[in-house]
Point group: C2
Chain length 405, copies 2
């Protein structure tokens, strides 16, 4: 069993770096605060007897040697970069749960057959540099190292420059094989809390399609323009918002449909909006359903455009296929939660995680624990110490089993 | 009859001051371009034998003496400030139609009993300084001179400072009596064009109630948050947008309901909007109907808030009562259009105009002429020379009758 108090203390210690007045953390990828966080992790991992390797996109791998170091490692990890108004647990939990597994094995003098590695993936959040999940994306070959290094932040600084400036531009080379990958993470949603379960057995991650939608109507003066002669872009956009919601609600329980952004032009009180630009985010557990939602979105846009005599363009800007996790590893998570007496339930990950990319190149699974009110990406993000401990115990058992095989 | 070519030429000459590449005009209130426009008008009016008076809010009155200068003047006018991307006709037409009336009377050596005055009202547009229709509002006592002078633009410059800097801070003193007031204006809407009429006989201006509405839900991650556990502020706002439209459509033909602005927080692609701020603009021809619409808006907000478990606050920020124009003057406009053989129809003014304030202190009426596609507050705003001429002929006849009585 892991040491819950030690895990909690390391979470609180790491959260000092970039701590915000409201109790959150602002530790943006590849800033000096990110460097300080990385340095602290490396110091802890070295203290726990690990060797450190950094790859060319800045991913850190802390390795605890196995009996047979030719075996591919059993890996765990997550990220320590945060949102600008992020919390203490998102990502950080997965990294420090991995460190706690290593410390627990040390204390118990367990020597696993396969080596154990704890990974810190670069720039998962994507707040400063797109794309999100950059480090794991490069590792899994979702896009090239060159593409990632060339990305620039709003100030024009490239990923390559930022990595060099914090001293985490590591070795070039192909990504090594991974025996299996586990990632512990707070749920970032309300399902576990609502069902009063401690462990979420993550069976898959939802597929995602993101869109830019533009509604082009005709701006006109709100006073002199009779209702029947309007081509109001916001009216059409509002119908579309309701339609996006309906598309997801009709495909309960796992489908999601969200309009997160909307910009109006000219955005003036007494002018009928001539143009509305909005984002659409559709998610579903399988590709056929996601394609069906795509078709429903496009049909709704076409219908609304015809009914309201305006133009609607739909451009897909992001696609993640649905990603099932590896059944044997998922079963290991489920069985170990049961063995340990923790209440659990099967869940899907609605969000992308580094594990979603790792699942492309290795057997992979995730372990969710509840967070208060499902709130994440927020300074008030919180999780119960006993739930974090429980998730880490499940991680320990699952990794041990995988490393002994 | 007025000289249509001369009227057109003066419109084109004035439009040189602040001309934009797309054929519009940017001549913001109390800027140096506004001063240049005012100077040109004053020069033209002096050239037509008028005396000039400027009041303390910068309204310019060009007076053509009558036989009995103790009689209150028959006044016409409008404004020459424009929107940032304004046109050549909005406001400018009403001022230059007044000048054309003076020039026509001069050419025909007509001496009216009452004096004739052409007014240039300060800051009708309200783009730089709120409130809109500032000069006519002070003149009519809708708010105080001190209040108006103290308003500041986005750079912190006050109306008083800006007036002084362009040399149009005139004499203090009570507003003099006005015998009657006429204002010619482009319609800024599509009704006349749709009915193929040349003259709009404006019977009244719609009452207006403007609101700030805030929908407070709960922001959450778009991926992990199931549809049924969301408190999506945009979803509620979208229902409200459709409701505002319905409230007006159900009260056809004159009621209007518009949501012109919307801001989302945090406005991020994969975050369910936690807050939506929107403006609502309701208009109706009579106060009872406007109050009924106010009640319907508030009821819709309450219903949506309950159904979606979120808070909606409604704050009224502007109120203009409906303003009927003076029946005898309205009839004079109608009869003169008929006499001159121009097709006409009764219309309401959906927008506020200086005449709406003048109607509080004097008998008043307006004359609308069509503008292309109903487009105004836009650089492509356009109107037919023959329609502008027709409106000016109606103005001439109506003013003559009023000045002879
Ligand atoms: N965990 C997370 O926020 N991933 C970013 C992409 C997504 O919205 O799923
Ligand atoms: N004519 C005009 O734009 N007035 C401003 C106030 C309104 O929206 O009616």
């Amino acid at each position: 069993r892991i040491d819950g108090a030690r895990l909690w203390q390391s979470l609180m210690d790491l959260a000092q770096i970039g701590a915000t007045p409201k109790g959150g953390v602002c530790r943006i990828a590849l800033t000096d605060l990110d460097r300080q966080g990385r340095d602290l992790f490396v110091q802890w991992a070295r203290g726990a007897g690990c060797s450190i390797r950094v790859d060319a996109i800045g991913n850190i791998f802390a390795r605890r040697a196995g009996q047979d170091d030719n075996l591919p490692p059993v890996m765990t990890g997550s990220h320590i970069d945060t949102q600008p108004t992020g919390g203490k647990f998102d990502g950080n939990y997965g990294v420090l749960a991995g460190l706690e597994v290593v410390r627990t094995l040390n204390a118990a003098s367990v020597r696993t057959r396969a080596p154990i590695e704890v990974a810190v993936w670069t720039n998962e959040e994507g707040s400063r540099f797109v794309p999100v999940m950059m480090g794991s994306g490069v590792f899994a070959g979702a896009f090239t190292l060159e593409h990632a290094l060339a990305q620039r932040d709003a100030q024009g600084v490239s990923v390559g420059e930022a990595l060099a400036s914090i001293g985490y531009a590591g070795q070039l080379g192909p990504a090594p094989a991974v025996g299996s990958y586990f990632e512990a993470h707070i749920e970032q949603g309300p399902v576990l809390e609502n069902h009063a379960r401690v462990i979420g057995v993550v069976t898959a991650a939802l597929g995602q399609r993101w869109y830019d939608v533009t509604v082009q109507g005709m701006e006109a003066h709100a006073g002199p323009t009779p209702m029947e002669l309007r081509r109001d872009a916001l009216l059409a956009a509002s119908e579309l918002v309701l339609e996006v919601n309906r598309i997801a609600v009709q495909r309960a329980p796992h489908a999601r449909g969200t309009v997160g952004t909307m910009e109006l032009f000219p955005n003036s009180r007494n002018v009928i909006p001539g143009r509305a630009s909005l984002s659409v985010d559709l998610r579903a557990p399988d590709d056929a359903q996601l394609l069906d939602m795509d078709a429903a979105l496009r049909a709704a846009c076409a219908r609304i455009a015809t009914e309201r005599s305006l133009q609607i363009t739909v451009e897909q800007v992001v696609y993640f296929p649905p990603q099932p996790f590896t059944p044997q590893l998922v079963q290991a998570v489920r069985a170990n939660a049961d063995d340990l007496g923790y209440s659990s339930m099967d869940v899907v990950s609605g969000a992308g995680h580094d594990a979603v990319y790792l699942a492309r190149v290795a057997p992979a699974a995730m372990i969710f624990v509840p967070c208060d009110d499902g709130i994440s990406h927020n300074e008030i993000e919180n999780a119960a110490a006993e739930h974090l401990e429980a998730g880490c115990n499940v991680l320990l058992r699952a990794m041990l089993a995988a490393a002994e095989v």
